[in-house]
Symmetry: C2
Subunit: 359 residues, 2 copies
DNA sequence: CAACCGCGTGATAGCGCTGTCAATATCGCT
DNA sequence: AGCGATATTGACAGCGCTATCACGCGGTTG
């Protein structure tokens, strides 16, 4: 019947309270909000806790208070640098706060996401950060059942579950293509790998721009369902050249691919940008270091993570969230790889960064 | 006095038990180990749980059982691709298991690490994965207090806290330099950024090799305490050229720097490898795609994460861990950037990969 | 044929903490 | 001095689950 009694040497709230000469509940209050305890007891409790090496038991706290300080974060990939930047923003924002992060990797699968959400539910998370808009109906139900603030990141869409922060991939790609068109490019190819929902929307932006210019040609599009990589960029580019030998520019759905295209051009002695212009997406650090420097669409990933975290914290703590849907925008960073010297040749300095177009 | 009674509609073990016509403890047993419950009740409980949409309460479970299924993981950086590979291995290994991962970012600070370990302690983690060997004495005490299996990853050292998996950075760098020496290089530079303990040990390996060859010269070493980047690679290389104009090879403490060096060579029209050979470290994917392809030291990061996770699980579940210290080794992948054509010029095919030397 | 074993099940008593309400101490003001 | 208002503290009863022991039952053993 029942279980054996507590083992000695275990330090609970009660032990600290006994040493400090106060009741356990006062110690509890001290740890949650020191201001609610008188200064005299505060110091007594503090030194008693230190002396005993008291460590609060989070499970007991969660059970008694019926809530946790866990923020669930769901991202599709751990390897993709795009998400490491977002994650860094999230972790930095939660740094020093009382929240802890529960990170899970959906591997670009909405079913996996659903499963992981179900797991999160068991922890009664205080908040949830999920990637993109394409959750299953079931996932949305689970999220609703979690009954906590939710931020969708990376994209913008019409029906936010709760809050949302991101930018329009369609518009961003449209802007990149518009830039190439403005440079006089006409046969602009699109290469993409993995083809997750965000890349799909970039493709949409590409198609919109090309159709609007009356230059759309399906042969200019080469995609692969495999993960993106530099090597993949080279081989997709080779495929593209085969399908469209008269190519004069390539838009790459991300920077890894763009780097691969650049190397493939070097290998084939294709002059960039004179023969073929290159534009990437995400503006990874190496884009500005490449030779020639590579044009890309900059997105504020770190800021996205940071603000998503802030929005969650505000919502959890009952502060009003001014903007529940935040458009972070993007910027086309024009560099040598897509800047065709017309008239006065004027290449950018290697370390320089061309003025961007803010949309 | 006391708190208000349970709200209706809440689904607990008790509710499931009532619907299934068994006692709550049987339901508890069913969820922990279905085999201990008779087949007849198993199906009854299963359908009752599904009907009510029962979700176990992890906090209650943790409190009652005095343990959790949380594995704490401490890494120094979220942005560094090296760690994303390791993380991917860890997440993949825990995938589908009952464990969940608590990830924290030490930002290369041992004090931050200490603070985070203290936080982990509150959760009574089932296991711990920490990066490197350089924990503070205080951190080691905290880890001991956590009283759970621990794996140190990334490196190998004499005094494991518990278990360990990694490779020798000193040896790996020594091997890379030996390769350059074998190619006839004499004025081999070292460039490194961030200078965390692992990079320090690579520098040590470099010094050992150069001293052994009687070629050591402090002017050949250029480092910076800032985070590593491609751009940084270019500027450190420029510094190095200034200090040692007669340079004939560069070892880069990681691949980002190596890529930056390659670009800087292109910018300065320095022929690689004819004038200057380049060797990187980690063998990131892009190294094989570059022009020329870039030599690097391959390390099995994914495997390291995966096996660390397996070791933890074995230890937690009381299975004997065969090898408590695992050396994963490394491999110098010789590519065009460091292969000097002596006699019969025989450059590697662009997509090819030179035979590695396994140590 | 009694003693024994082991399986499946149940009753009981907490795990360590906090929500709620009550009690007391302190304070400002009329 | 007397009053209500405000800070500070405490008592109590759980939060939802599991460890532990107890028990009934069929089958095995000497």
């Amino acid at each position: 019947m029942g279980r054996k009694r507590i083992e000695p040497g275990k330090v609970r709230l009660t032990e600290v309270a006994a040493l400090a000469g106060v009741s356990p509940i006062t110690v509890s209050r001290f740890f949650r909000n020191p201001a609610t305890v008188s200064a005299a007891r505060r110091t007594r409790i503090e030194s008693a806790a230190k002396e005993l090496g008291y460590v609060p038991n989070l499970a007991a706290r969660a059970l008694a208070s019926q809530r946790t300080e866990v923020i669930g974060v769901l991202i599709p990939s751990l390897t993709n640098n795009v998400f490491s930047d977002v994650l860094r923003g999230i972790y930095d924002a939660f740094e020093g706060s009382r929240y802890s992060i529960q990170l899970a990797n959906t591997r670009y699968s909405v079913l996996q996401e659903e499963r992981l959400l179900r797991l999160f539910l068991m922890q009664k998370p205080a908040g949830l950060i999920v990637t993109g808009l394409d959750q299953t109906a079931e996932s949305r139900l689970i999220i609703q059942a979690a009954d906590c603030p939710v931020v969708q990141i990376m994209e913008l869409g019409a029906e936010p579950i709760d809050m949302m922060i991101g930018f329009s991939h369609v518009d961003a790609c449209f802007a990149a293509i518009s830039h190439l068109l403005a440079q006089g490019c006409r046969r602009i190819g699109f290469i993409g790998a993995r083809m997750d929902p965000r890349v799909q929307r970039r493709l949409q932006g590409y198609q919109n721009a090309m159709k609007e210019a009356g230059l759309f040609d399906p042969r200019l599009i080469v995609t692969a369902p495999v993960p993106t990589s530099t090597t993949m960029g080279g081989s997709l580019f080779s495929d593209l050249l085969m399908k469209a030998p008269d190519l004069d520019a390539v838009f790459c759905a991300n920077d890894d691919l763009a780097l691969g295209v650049l190397f493939e051009c070097q290998r084939r002695h294709i002059a960039v940008p004179e023969q073929i212009a290159i534009v990437g997406f995400n503006d990874m650090e190496f884009m500005a270091a490449a030779v020639p420097t590579l044009t890309s669409v900059r997105t504020n990933r770190y800021e996205m993570g940071r603000r998503a975290a802030t929005m969650i914290m505000d919502a959890v703590e009952g502060r009003p969230v001014a903007q529940r849907v935040v458009d972070l925008g993007f910027e086309v960073i024009e560099r040598q790889s897509s800047t065709l010297q017309r008239g006065t040749a004027n290449p950018q300095p290697a370390s320089g960064r061309a003025a961007g177009t803010k949309w």
